[in-house]
Amino acid sequence: MNSEFDVRYTADLARLHLSEEEAAKFQAQLSQVLEYVEKLKTVDVSGVEPMAHANPVFNVVREDEPRDWFTPKEALANAPREANGLFAVPKVIE
């Protein structure tokens, strides 16, 4: 059992509200998963470079050239709420 895992604290970091029922269930299920992955600690990784992805390509860039893309109207087409051609959000600054 992973005693340090706190599902509520972690869900807060992920900006995710949990019901009481979800919190209890996920705490138990994810503790079981974390217990399973404990066995990675038995692998000798000394001197091994971490691998982020499979191919040896780094810092791929392309020319920053303008091209046709969304119009403001298209960009806002899926917005749940908009105002004056902008995405509307709850008040952020008091």
Partner: protein, 496 residues
């Protein structure tokens, strides 16, 4: 004489070009088929009949995939169509652009038709995690089709599509292909552009085809493969004609049997079918070599750290601001995020976001994420060493045939272990294909068994050649589920 809907892509193309059938007729035959069986299968979340008919009327059958409808997993953007990732959080989202694979399919003359069901955000192995209800296996509707691309596999198996696209992060193309009895190919990491694929785990995701036979997968890969400036992970590697090697014999081909994949724990009927397939390869002239992939037992653990870590970052974009579900009036922005995400995501997505957040969080990053990245390097090294000895690796795709709906849905860890043979392929970035190799008889019903072949990075042409040699010397790919059977030859002899 088989009916129109049971044709392969290559057969359909031949009939289209000979003007024996029109693109409109082909599409209408699919639409009738969907109307007849999709109430049972639920492989599609949506299909835009009018737009597809319009495209069919103008199709140029001289193009490589001219007039061929292709079903698209609901995680790939098609301009003007809904893309929900089978999640409530994207309900009503209309794609404002085409994914690169869609641009390329259209350029090849194909008609993207239908949005196939999936596990929400491609997280799952059974398609039961769809917010819109599960897909059912055409071989036994009481059973799951596999996942996450279960809809794509089921519609191909049930003749509701000639072929389909899916995505594979840890087995999500190969495992459902195995469980539904079709061909599913996960190309090498960097082979196919993911621009316009809704990201799950960016260091693992690849788009690939589902089809009724190996040649059709090669035809689809021909259309979608190659460098895309809009996806920095797609490589400049040349794109060969993936059909070019089909039909060559297996003289001198060495196939590796990883001893760690044959240690028990696999369903006996699956194990037997795969061993028979290996013996068959030997009879075709291939040399079978025992190999070792020593870090196999750690693949699932590494995967569920890396994939969830990447998912927790990728899914941060679902914030109820720019698109998707938004909670009713929240008192502040933090509550807005918390409620929006709680209401929009299903349980498996929440679990993975939390797990991914945890393994990246301060104090745990080194112990989990960094360590997993190192073990991942060792897994990759296992494959590099194996490919010094062999041309491809041969093993089961899934340790068991399709299980019943509801059997695992409350046991995430057990569900994760369904991907035990497919996950390492994504971690290593190599390519893999699943193809039918027999049946397990379960409760009086034949359930497909899949054979997995794993190939060297960017050697899909050789991998497909090896798969094709087996397929064409066996009859498994011709077997159809009872609901689609047309002829006596298709029904005969389900014994291994």
């Amino acid at each position: 004489m088989s009916s129109l809907i049971s044709l392969s892509v290559a057969e359909l193309q031949a009939q289209l070009r000979a003007r024996e059938v029109s693109p409109v007729e082909a599409l209408q035959a699919l639409q009738a088929r969907i109307a007849a069986v999709d109430g049972t299968i639920h492989g599609y979340l949506a299909h835009d009949d009018a737009a597809a008919l319009e495209a069919a009327r103008h199709a140029d059958v001289s193009l490589p995939l001219g007039g061929v409808p292709i079903a698209i997993k609901d995680v790939i953007n098609v301009r003007g169509q809904q893309c929900t990732c089978a999640s409530k959080i994207l309900e009503g989202f209309i794609s404002p652009y085409d994914a690169t694979v869609i641009t390329r399919l259209k350029a090849a003359g194909a008609i993207p038709f239908g949005r196939t069901n999936m596990d929400e955000f491609a997280m799952g192995s059974s398609t039961e995690n769809s917010a819109y209800g599960p897909t059912r296996n055409p071989w036994d509707p009481a059973r799951i089709p596999g996942g996450s691309s279960g809809g794509s596999a089921a519609v191909v198996a049930a003749d509701e599509a000639f072929a389909a696209l899916g995505s594979d992060t840890g087995g999500s193309i190969r495992q459902p292909a195995a469980l539904c009895g079709c061909v599913g190919l996960k190309p090498s990491y960097g082979r196919v552009s993911r621009f316009g694929l809704v990201a799950f785990a960016s260091s693992l995701d690849q788009i690939g085809p589902f089809s009724k036979n190996v040649r059709d997968s090669a035809l689809l890969l021909n259309a979608v493969a190659g460098r895309d400036p809009l996806d920095s992970t797609s490589l400049e590697e040349p794109v060969p004609d993936y059909t070019a090697l089909l039909g060559r014999d297996l003289k001198g081909v060495r196939l590796g049997m990883p001893k760690e994949y044959f240690v028990g724990g696999t369903d006996p009927q699956v194990d037997q079918a795969v061993r028979k397939a290996i013996a068959h390869y030997e009879s075709l002239g291939a040399e079978i070599v025992e190999i070792s992939l020593p870090h196999t037992e750690h693949a699932v653990g590494v995967y569920y750290i890396i994939a969830t870590a990447e998912a927790s970052a990728n899914l941060a974009r679902f914030d109820g601001v720019r698109y998707g579900h938004r909670t009713a009036e929240a008192e502040n922005i933090i509550e807005h995020y918390r409620r929006t995400r709680a209401e929009g995501f299903g349980p498996e997505v929440k679990r993975r976001i939390i797990l991914g957040t945890y393994v990246l969080s301060s104090g745990y990053y080194d112990a989990y994420y960094l360590r997993a990245q190192k073990v991942r390097a060792l897994i990759r090294q296992d494959f590099t060493r194996a490919f010094e000895q062999v041309d491809a690796i041969i093993c089961p795709t899934s340790p068991e045939p399709a299980f019943k709906l509801g059997d695992r849905s409350d046991d995430p860890l057990r569900m994760y272990l369904a991907d035990i043979f497919t996950i390492a392929v994504n971690l290593a970035g190599v390519c893999g294909v699943s193809l039918p190799c027999g049946f397990a008889q379960v409760e009086g019903k034949p359930l497909p068994v899949g054979l997995q072949l794993i190939g060297k990075p960017f050697r899909e042409a050789e991998l497909l050649q090896i798969a094709h040699a087996y397929e064409q010397s066996t009859e498994w790919h011709k077997k159809r589920p009872a609901m689609t059977r047309q002829t006596a030859a298709e029904t005969a002899d389900f014994d291994n």
